[in-house]
């Protein structure tokens, strides 16, 4: 596989900067989404009175559903943006 396909564009032992950058972008994207889920689901599921340090049953179940729902919204919006093209971004 090393002399076929896109693998061929990397010099042996060197660094393919474009591929690095894509991987780093992907990590940043995932981290950003994760942080937004943590924040949104905290707002939705955790009561701000903090009378105890453990998650209670209701909060735990709420978090599980909240994360799943966020993923669904993420997917729906992704489909929407893909069909709309990228013509809303200013340059």
């Amino acid at each position: 596989m090393s002399f076929l396909g896109r693998g061929a564009s990397t010099p042996a032992g060197g660094v393919n900067h474009e591929r690095m950058e894509m991987a780093i972008n992907e990590i940043e994207m995932i981290t950003d989404v994760f942080n937004r889920i943590v924040s949104s689901c905290h707002n939705k599921c955790i009561s701000p009175r903090y009378s105890e340090g453990d998650l209670n049953k209701g909060e735990s179940v709420c978090i599980d559903r909240c994360v799943a729902k966020f993923f669904e919204v993420n997917k729906k919006v992704g489909e929407k943006l893909q069909s709309a093209g990228a013509n809303a971004a200013p340059s």
Partner: protein, 91 residues
């Protein structure tokens, strides 16, 4: 912005930087739409699936956000051009 006094090496560098930033901005915009529409449309966590009402709300929200963003972009470009015109080299 006026890049006309840049030499070709500088213009090539700027083009790469701008492309990278546009990618990051698009990603950030995407996840901010997801977050905003999730927060506005989802508040029932008795189920992990999106209800059809929630899904409709999310689709409208994403749609409206894109149109909002495009309209802001158009006004922004006009006002920015005005500001550049009245204060050469400064805005």
């Amino acid at each position: 912005m006026d890049f006309s006094q840049f030499n070709s090496a500088e213009q090539a560098h700027m083009t790469k930087v701008i492309e990278k930033k546009q990618m990051q901005d698009f990603m950030r915009m995407y996840s901010s739409v997801v977050e905003r529409c999730f927060n506005s449309c989802c508040s029932d966590f008795t189920s992990k699936a999106l209800s059809s009402k929630e899904e409709q709300c999310v689709m409208n929200c994403a749609d409206k956000f894109l149109k909002h963003s495009e309209r802001v972009g158009a006004r922004f470009a006009e006002l920015n051009a005005d500001a550049m015109g009245s204060q050469p080299g400064k805005h």
